[in-house]
């Protein structure tokens, strides 16, 4: 920051103000946190079972794509029916994206990091193709964007005039549900066992393959819902810049939360506040907003190092 000529303290103050200093700032921060909670949760669920889903970005776009197909006029129902249907269909789209990788992994040992990562590019290119072709909005002045979703498909705003939408409530709900699933249910028990020690889980007679498939489907599904939430709540239509890497940032969010479903809410808010605040800071202080990436990376490193140190103490004591 000093290099770009701004006073460091002032820049931080601007960042903080830009992120949390007003109703508008808070709205922006939580609007930004919403997709991050979804993708962070998706990563946390998968990673907890040692399934390295790097493809939340692709799953997000897959969810968004299905919303665009269904929500721009194909279905016309009452919002009370329309929104649940869209949530489910975006989840199914995201989950299907992971079905291939997980089956390849458990049957042939194909590394899911490679398959899920590569699927991101495939989906993105597919979206790009469709936005230039069949899904292109005739009223879009030639921009590669789809038609906006119908009013019934829109997620209602939480406050008049602010961009914060009810997708946030959906995200909080899912975090909470998954937390309960994880600690109280038999499925959650199996998922944790498989994640911590697959060999012992298999030895104890747990259906390891089935648990892995279910985990992958849930993870993909939640990432797919992120796509729905962005299209129906934030942007209104599918564009190529729908997600500035939410899928990848979700991995950071999950790691910062130590894969805890409720921790994801906090870490997503934290990461979002830094990004939103950094944008505000760059506008007023002229510090490049890339500083946000630096800050997030540094906090992730601090987190990883401290986790490592905690482990060490346990081992040596």
């Amino acid at each position: 920051m000093a290099w770009s000529g701004a006073s460091v303290l002032e820049a931080y103050w601007l960042l903080l103000k830009g992120a949390l200093g007003s109703g508008f700032a808070l709205s922006e921060t939580f609007a930004r946190a919403t997709p991050l909670i979804f993708t962070g949760l998706a990563a946390a669920i998968a990673f907890k079972s040692r399934f390295w889903n790097i493809g939340a970005e692709g799953q997000l776009y897959a969810g968004a794509l299905i919303i665009t197909v269904l929500g721009t006029g194909m279905l016309d129902l009452h919002p009370g029916l329309m929104i649940p249907i869209l949530v489910v269909s975006s989840a199914v789209a995201g989950a299907l994206m992971l079905l291939g990788p997980v089956l390849l992994k458990i049957n042939f040992g194909v590394d899911e990091v490679v398959t899920t990562l590569l699927l991101n590019f495939i989906v993105l290119l597919l979206v790009s193709l469709l936005l230039e072709g069949p899904l292109k909005d005739p009223m879009g002045l030639g921009w590669p964007q789809a038609e906006p979703v119908t009013e019934a498909a829109e997620l209602p705003r939480l406050f008049r005039g602010l961009r914060l939408h009810s997708g946030l409530l959906l995200a909080l709900l899912f975090s909470f549900i998954f937390w309960i699933v994880s600690i109280r249910t038999t499925l959650g028990y199996e998922m944790r066992a498989v994640g911590f020690n697959q060999k012992a889980a298999r030895f104890a007679g747990m259906p390891v393959k089935r648990v892995m498939i279910i985990t992958a489907l849930i993870s993909g599904g939640i990432a797919g819902i992120a796509g729905f939430s962005e299209v129906a709540g934030m942007k209104g239509n599918l564009t190529l810049d729908l997600s500035p890497g939410f899928g990848y940032t979700g991995i950071v969010v999950a790691m910062l939360a130590q894969l805890h479903p409720l921790g994801v809410i906090i870490s997503a808010s934290f990461v979002a506040s830094i990004f939103v605040g950094a944008d505000a800071m760059s506008r007023s202080a002229g510090v490049p907003s890339y500083i946000a990436d630096v800050m997030v990376s540094v906090s992730l490193l601090c987190m990883l190092v401290s986790v490592l140190l905690v482990r060490f103490r346990i081992r040596w004591s």
């Binding site: 038999t186 028990y189 020690n197 012992a200 889980a201 346990i314 040596w316 004591s317």
Partner: protein
């Protein structure tokens, strides 16, 4: 190389003064958190002496030797070698001063030749040529001198376990070790190999080396050492001349209380529970094959399987655990052929399984005692209804297991990884026996446990036997097998021998079978081998 010359000079002067103290530890104390691993330990090693370091697991033997070898730094105390104080925390300095260590788990590179393994690290990295011929000659001379012949050109992967141990020792000798620390060296050897190994040790001692021999097997300690030092809970509790020591005395010093060996009642075996009929399994992922294995275990009977590790024990255990199915042959439980080889089906058929590896297979370290205690029955209605886990019942069940099987140290809600090996085994035992199994597979149930814990495990197995369970005990420890088995079979290269009633077979005979020789040819070797073991 300058050091070599120097040390051979020391060599000569040493022989002149035979009883010289070569190693002296003074007031060594090491604390890990709240655990005092070593508490003010004083130790002397004389030239040409075999000092046995005896103690249960966790008594502080390994910590002490790691301090000596420079892996750890002691909190206080000093170490002198040949009268020179050695800087702590530097394995390099320890090697320079002539301390060699042979670890329990070999530190050899499998894909390199014996010569390369020995030379590794002895030459400067930046020298362009390496003097292999001189090294080979030196290695062969060392081998001849101490009876440690190994072909230097063979890859380590092709050597037997006994030969690999020789390479480990040669590695230390090649670095001019004058004091050799042997950490549980016989754990991996057959009784016969142990016999030749002890011959080697005697040659090394007469060649001027001093040895520290770490073990928890009393017979071996009595057979090979001059002096015994017993550690318990980090303290040095006894120091006895071997000639004056008795097994019971040492055992008591080691454990600090009287150990009651579990009583083994004679029982009449019941109906057949497990029947293997010419089971054949192909080798896969490092697992040895089984060829045409047949076995019959009846109720109220313990059948032991002896063998050097890696001869197919894992395959038998995995088969009965339900981890894979045989290529041919059948397995019958209570006269019914098993078609569905899955862990869950085995559990359903009341097969209790105590796995070989507690950490990787038996328990999930990051989950709690309670969660681990139900890992084989978490789907039963008392723990799971409509997909929800019943935490209350789980807690009750776990507390019951913990108190009944004497799992100590942590509450039911602590992660299992904090438990000691013995308590982990008790937890597994509790989990297995709570299911009232009719067949129990106990794969190396006493491995790595201290005397007290082993006695407890044996006692529980005998109780299960008295209740009518059939037990298959797989072990590399012949004493364990002879102690509690009714019949014993030996596995070698995937072939299982017939079973012998334990009264009619000796350790020496088992040892020969373990190396693949037939029982009939044992008579003439028997007496010498029995001495050695």
């Amino acid at each position: 190389m300058r050091n070599v010359v120097k040390r051979s000079e020391i060599d000569i002067s040493e022989k002149q003064a035979a009883a010289e103290v070569v190693l002296r530890l003074r007031g060594i104390t090491k604390v890990f958190g709240s655990l005092v691993a070593n508490d003010d330990i004083n130790l002397e090693l004389k030239s040409g002496e075999v000092l046995a370091l005896l103690g249960e697991n966790g008594a502080g033997k390994t910590t002490l030797m790691n301090i000596l070898f420079g892996h750890y730094v002691a909190d206080s105390g000093s170490i002198e070698v040949f009268g020179h104080p050695i800087p702590q925390g530097s394995p390099h300095a320890a090697i320079e001063l002539g301390i060699g260590m042979v670890h329990q788990h070999f530190t050899l590179a499998d894909n390199l030749s014996v010569l390369d393994n020995v030379m590794l690290g002895t030459e400067p990295l930046w020298s362009l040529s390496s003097n292999r011929r001189a090294s080979r000659i030196r290695l062969e001379k060392l081998g001849e001198r101490f009876g440690l012949q190994v072909n230097p050109n063979v890859r380590v992967a092709e050597l037997s376990i006994g030969e690999r141990q020789r390479v480990e020792i040669l590695k230390a000798l090649y670095r001019n070790a004058r004091i050799l620390i042997l950490d549980e060296p016989t754990a991996v050897l057959t009784p016969q190999e142990t016999g030749t190994f002890f011959e080697t040790l005697k040659k090394m001692v007469s060649g001027g080396l001093s040895l520290i021999f770490i073990s928890h097997k009393m017979q071996e300690v009595l057979a090979i050492s001059d002096r015994v030092v017993v550690l318990r809970d980090g303290r040095l509790v006894a120091e006895i001349k071997t000639a004056d020591a008795s097994e019971t005395e040492l055992a008591q010093a080691m454990v600090g209380r009287n150990i009651e060996l579990p009583e083994r009642k004679a029982l009449k075996a019941g109906e057949s529970v497990l029947k293997l009929k010419s089971v054949t399994v192909k080798a896969e992922d490092g697992r040895a094959a089984l060829s045409s294995v047949s076995l019959d275990i009846r109720a109220s009977e313990i059948v032991g399987i002896a063998g050097v590790s890696g001869n197919g024990q894992t395959a038998i255990a995995d088969l009965i655990s339900g981890l894979f199915e045989p290529q041919s042959g059948t397995m019958e439980l209570h006269g019914e052929v098993v078609n569905n080889f899955t862990p869950r089906n085995m559990l359903r058929k009341k097969v209790g399984r105590i796995p070989e590896d507690r950490h990787s297979q038996g328990l999930i370290g990051d989950m709690t005692l309670a969660e681990n205690s139900i890992s084989e029955c978490y789907r039963e209605p008392q723990f799971s209804s409509y997909g929800w886990q019943n935490h209350l019942n789980r807690q009750r069940f776990a507390e019951n297991v913990v108190s009944k099987f004497d799992v100590r140290g942590y509450s039911a809600n602590s992660p299992v990884r904090l438990l000691s090996g013995g308590n982990m085994q008790k937890l597994i035992l509790g989990r297995v026996l709570s299911g009232n199994p009719q067949l129990i597979l106990a794969n190396q149930p006493g491995r790595g446990l201290d005397v007290g814990a082993v006695a407890y495990v044996h006692e529980q197995l005998l109780v299960a036997r008295a209740k009518g369970a059939a037990i298959l005990l797989i072990s590399e420890d012949l004493e364990e097998l002879l102690q509690i088995s009714d019949r014993i079979a030996v596995i070698h290269r995937g072939r299982l021998s017939e079973t012998f009633p334990r009264e009619s077979i000796s350790i020496a005979q088992l040892g020969l079978l373990m190396t693949g020789q037939q029982k009939s040819s044992t008579t003439n070797n028997q007496s010498t081998e029995a001495d050695a073991s």
